[in-house]
Each structure stands twice: as C-alpha cells, then as structure tokens.
C-alpha cells in the first residue's frame, strides 16, 4: 500500500487529524454549497430575505434609539452607525444559532459516515458569510444614499471579519458539541443571542457606557468587535484597552471551543 496505515484505537484520532481535515476539504465545500442551495428553496422572496432582515432591524433600531431615545451617533447618520454594528452582530447571531444546532441536524450523517466533525459547525459559520457580504453591499448602498464617505480604514474590514469569524467559530464549536450531549443548550442559545444583543453596542454607540465600567463592558468580545467595525467604517474613536481585552477573550474562546470539540468529538455518534 502506498498510504500510511490508518490505526483505529481508543483515543487515537489525534495524529492524523489535520491531514484528514485537508483530505476532506471537498466535503467542506460541498456541504457549504448544499446549505446555500437549500437555504431559499421553496421561498417566494428567496435571497431578498438576506436583505430584508438586516434592513428591518436597522430601521427599528434607528427609530427607537435614534429618534425616540435620542441617542447620539457622533458625526455619522444614526442609520449607518447602527448598520455598521449590525454587520458583525448579525453574522455572529446567525452563524452561532445555525452552528449550535448543526450537529443535531446532521445526526444521520454523523452516525453513518466518517469525516472530521469540525466540518459541520464550520460549514454553518461559513455559510453565514453570504449574509455578511449581502449586508456589506447594502451598507455601501446606504452610504451612497446618505452621501457618507467612509474612512480609508474601511480596508481593515476583512481583518475584522477574520476576527469575528474566529470568535463565532469558537462559540459555535463549543455550543454544538455541548448540544449533542445536553439538549438544554438548544434553549439556551436563543436566549444568549437575545441577551447578547442587549449588552452589545449594536443599537447604540458604546460611548454611552460610563468610563469606569468600560473595561468590564469589553469582556463581551462582541463589544470590541462591533466597536472595531465602527472604527473602520465610521472612523469612530476606539477604546484600545477594551478592544485588546475583547480580542484576548475571543482567542481564548476559539481555543476553548476547539479543544472541547476535539475532546468529545469521537463520542458524538454514540450520543446523538
């Protein structure tokens, strides 16, 4: 035989993990492609849903926080301020909720074929990128509409996207693996997302947070991520210690999620 032998032993999947992952990259594309294809089958509005959802949220936030509560948005229009925050938030919330259920939804796959299980939640996160890109195009349209010129820092957006991707993947891996064993997390996730929306500066600017609470506020990595997006798109001032803190928490989350996932991965088929 040309190939190196595969050895199956208890607790011994680790060695070939990365080469396996590389070998199964095509499956990764295929599953992502499937999810995208299936997403809007048998819907009337189709892809328009990806436009309508962020747009509607933006309108509601602008009316409530901007018009009724009369909160400040700095020099930029309130709608654009909200939308710049919605961009990473919607990505996170969509990807996170999809990923958390992803393993359960593909139970039939997990019990019938072998492949690195990481692919399943990772696919959910990847597919949410489509919505992100659509929303980003929408933002560009809005900028034209409001005659708003973005700062040159907008070129940082791809790097920030990698950040939010990594953080979301970490959360998704952790929760999806936990959901396999404890179905409680199916109920926890919608609550977490709702809760997260209130404590993250999505509908308002983080400038309203009192100075002494700021560092604590940034333990929520989404606060750092949302603010960084606003920094890149709207050139809003950035609270650097907070962002650094958020970044560190995100990295820990990614490592933790991945580590836990790897630890319990081999027992998925027995438990699902």
């Amino acid at each position: 035989m040309l190939t190196e032998p595969i050895i199956i032993e208890s607790g011994r999947s680790a060695r070939r993990y990365w080469s396996d992952l590389w070998q199964y990259r095509e499956l990764f594309y295929c599953l992502a492609w499937r999810d995208i294809l299936v997403r809007y089958k048998q819907t009337v509005l189709g892809i328009a849903w990806s436009v309508l959802r962020p747009l509607a949220t933006m309108v509601v936030f602008t009316l409530i926080f901007g018009r009724l509560a009369k909160m400040s948005s700095g020099q930029s229009p309130y709608a654009i301020m909200v939308f710049a925050g919605l961009l990473p938030w919607q990505f996170f919330s969509n990807a996170f909720s999809d990923a958390s259920n992803s393993l359960l939804n593909s139970a039939s796959l997990l019990t019938k074929v072998y492949f690195p299980r990481v692919i399943v939640p990772a696919t959910s996160v990847l597919v949410s990128l489509i919505d992100f890109i659509i929303s980003f195009l929408l933002l560009l349209f809005m900028m034209v509409f409001f005659r708003f010129t973005p700062d040159w820092k907008i070129i940082f957006v791809p790097f920030l996207l990698i950040w939010v991707f990594a953080f979301t993947l970490g959360c998704g891996l952790l929760i999806s693996a936990l959901t396999v064993k404890y179905r409680d997390f199916r109920h926890v996730v919608p609550f977490l997302i709702q809760f997260g929306l209130y404590i993250s500066p999505v509908g308002f600017s983080s400038a309203v947070i009192p100075e002494k609470w700021k560092l604590l506020y940034f333990t929520n990595p989404m606060a750092g991520i949302v603010d960084s997006f606003r920094y890149a798109i709207l050139n809003e001032p950035l609270f650097w210690p907070g962002v650094g803190f958020s970044f560190a928490v995100s990295i820990v989350m990614l490592l933790l999620g991945f580590k836990y996932f790897r630890m319990v991965e081999s027992s998925f088929a027995d438990q699902i």
């Binding site: 295929c30 599953l31 492609w33 072998y114 081999s266």
Partner: protein
C-alpha cells in the same frame, strides 16, 4: 504478514446503559446533579474502601474480536440481530471509537452503512450525486468523471433535475446505490444495503459488488441474506452476542453454524394433542411433527436443499375406509399452498392404516418451497362425511422456517418472490 490490509486485534466496544426512567437524554441539570451526587457517594465510598459504584450498567456490544484480511478478501459478517455486526462496521468505518483494541487499515475505506446517506430532499438528483459522492469520500473530479456512468446505472436520466423528494422510493434507492457503487476504495464496508429495493435491483447490486471484488478490493459485508453471503464472500465471521464464534474460509460451514447454533430450539415444529380435540369414537391423533428422515424432530431452521418429513402419529379404534390423513401448508400471508393426504395416490400404494397406533409420514422434497416461514395444519377427515381436523382454522398447527440452500446456480442468489422456489430442469428439445 505484511500484506494484510485489515488487521483487527482484541477489539471490544463497551456501552454504558443509563438507568433513567423519564428522560431519554441527559440534561445539563441531570449531569450536574449526578456529578455532585456521585462525588458525594465517592467520598462516602472512599471511607468504606469501595470505589466501584455507578448508576450505569456496562454493556459489551463487542468483545475479543480478532481477524485479519488480505487484499481481495471478501468477508461476510453474519449473526442475529444485536450480535454486534453493525457496531463492528461502525468501528471499522471510524464512526465510533473502540473501547479496547486496535485496528490497522492499509487503504482507503468507504463505508456504505445506509443507502443515500446525506441525500438532501430539496436538492435535485444531479446535485445529490455530487453531495453524496463527497460525503462518501470521492473528489469532485472523480465524480465528474463517473457522472454519466452513475446516471446510467441508476436509470434516472429523465429526473436528474427534479428534487429527490419527488422521486419514488425505488428511484431514490437506485440513485443512491449508483453513487456508492462507483466508489473506488481499497476497502468497502457494506451493511445490509441489499435489503432495500425489489429483487431485480438486489440482483443488480449484488453483481456490481461481485465485479468490484473482482478488481481485487476488500469487502466487508453484513447481511441476513445467506445466499448473498455464500455467493459473494470468501470468508465468513459469525458473531453471537458480541463475541466472535468463528472465522473460517469455509463460508458454508460458518453459515451452517449460524443457522443451527444461533437459533433457540424451535418447539413450533411439533404439535401434541393435549386437549383431546378430536371428540369422535374413531380416531385419536397423538401428534403432528416436522422431522428428518430418521423421525427426529427438527428444532432449528431448515435449509432449503434438505428434505423434510411431516409425521402424523395417531391411534385408530376401528378401521374406516373413508379415513383421510394429511396436511395443508400455508405461507406467511396465510395463503394456502396445497393440501395433501395419504389417499392421494392409487389405492394400492396407500400406507396401511390398522387398528391401533399408526405413524404416517410424507416427504416435502428439498428445493420445492422457498425461503421463509411456513405453517402446516393437520388434515383428518372422513371422505365426503365429516372433518375431524380441518386445515386453515388453526387447530392443530406447526410451523417451520426455511433459510439458505436455495440453489447452486450462479444466477440464483437471492430469495425469489413466490411461495415456491422449485428447481426445475431445462433441456434442449
């Protein structure tokens, strides 16, 4: 030996059966509470020098499995339900981890534990071919190359752009198997996929598998279809209760072992007249029995190529020329195959009925009935006068199961439809 493609050493798989009454799965609270409780218990036990407490029960789905295969071997894995066959395949295809032991595989493994794994109902046939292929481990280029072949095999050209949820179940299965059949792994693991589809499709699958193995690939094949195992496999592994009963290169003897040893004694093959059901002054039937040629009752599954005998043991108070003793035989769906009685032949060759005890027997020749379960009802009557035992109403009844030994023809590998499967001769005219 270095040319072993699969080597399994001391393999075992343990499951923990959790004793919970209400929830079918563990909630987070449960496991927290259990953690606290078992922690407390453990500390308590520690003082009592006893650490083995658990609310869980161990269950060994597999134990001490040991075998190795060379390239080109075709291993049939047989055993009753729950013998551990599927667990073994799942471990081999890396879906679940073994608890103990080790497997060395030298080659790409493709497992076919279910037809149509990962098919998405909303996607079209074309899309599903690519998706399913990727799931089974084919590359996109590979699928593209074989696409036409797959479509031709599945006979679904016309519906390629229809979502598979609109497919008939037959089309669905054909498409799914077509993808799987075009895998080119060194090791192919197949679980009972032939159980689906009509017999024509089963035949097609089987011949495809034969041609795959002809190319020197190693196949592991689980089936309840003994004919398929016999035709396809070069070795057979018998599992029983998670243990390895035998691994032989004589498939025939393994099958025999499975058919006879595995089954519990079948008392349905004998009926004894315990309730004096025949209230007449003429005849008393003692028993009705299925036996071999020596008169021993048959307690196991019967092979189709064996002759079986129906024995009727009765006592005559006085001789009556109108007496008819026989039986009616029924298929599983209660349909009558035929009636027969001892007076069917010319009068001179009837068995003699005498006053006192009589035992009549009649042979059912091998390879007349098909595989399956049959019911035999006692028939006793006085010709044109009255029924003493009427068949078909389930009074005096026995049953037997026929499995294996269908035919020696290379083209007759699976159970044919029909109650009978006689092997009839053909000749030139």
């Amino acid at each position: 030996m270095s040319n072993e493609i699969i080597k399994v050493e001391a393999l075992a798989k343990k499951y923990l059966l959790q004793h919970q009454q209400k929830e079918s799965y563990q909630t987070f609270r449960d496991s927290l509470m259990q953690g606290i409780r078992s922690g407390l218990k453990r500390t308590r036990k520690m003082f009592q020098n006893n650490l083995s407490s658990s609310s869980q029960e161990e269950f060994w789905a597999l134990r001490d499995i040991e075998f190795s295969l060379s390239p080109g071997d075709r291993l049939g894995i047989i055993g009753r339900n729950g013998a551990g066959k599927s667990t073994l395949l799942k471990i081999l295809s890396r879906i679940v981890e073994p608890t103990v032991g080790r497997i060395t595989l030298r080659g790409r493994v493709a497992s076919l534990l279910e037809v149509g794994t990962g098919f998405h109902p909303e996607l079209t046939g074309r899309e599903n071919i690519f998706l399913n292929g990727a799931i089974l481990g084919m590359t996109r280029a590979e699928i593209k190359r074989k696409f036409d072949e797959i479509v031709a095999f599945s006979e679904t050209e016309k519906f390629l752009d229809t979502p598979v949820k609109r497919y008939s179940s037959g089309m669905y299965v054909r498409l799914a198997f077509a993808v799987a059949a075009h895998l080119e792994p060194e090791i192919l693991v197949v679980d009972e996929v032939l159980a689906v589809g009509d017999s024509q499709f089963q035949k097609k699958c089987l011949s495809k598998m034969e041609s795959i193995s002809g190319e020197g690939r190693t196949i592991l094949f689980v089936s309840h279809n003994m004919e398929a195992v016999r035709k396809l496999c070069t070795k057979a592994l018998v599992l029983s209760g998670g243990k390895q009963m035998a691994l032989t290169s004589s498939v025939e003897s393994s099958i025999d072992m499975y058919l006879s040893a595995g089954s519990e004694p079948n008392t349905a093959g004998t009926w004894k007249n315990s309730k004096e059901l025949d209230n007449n002054s003429l005849i008393h039937v003692n028993s009705l029995m299925i036996g071999d040629s020596c008169g021993n009752p048959i307690t196991s599954v019967v092979r189709n190529n064996d002759d079986i005998w129906i024995y009727v043991d009765f006592y005559l108070n006085s001789y009556d020329p109108a007496l008819q003793v026989g039986y009616g035989i029924y298929g599983q769906d209660d349909s009558l195959l035929y009636w027969t009685c001892h007076t069917d032949m010319p009068e001179l060759s009837w068995p003699k009925a005498v006053t006192g005890r009589n035992v009549f027997r009649s042979k059912i020749p091998g390879r007349l009935l098909n595989e399956g379960r049959y019911r035999v009802d006692l028939l006793v009557a006085l010709y044109n006068r009255e029924w003493i035992f009427q068949p078909g109403i389930g009074v005096a009844t026995i049953s037997c199961e026929i499995l294996g030994g269908l035919c020696d023809s290379p083209y007759w590998s699976v159970r044919r439809p029909g109650h009978l499967a006689p092997v009839l001769s053909w000749e030139n005219f």
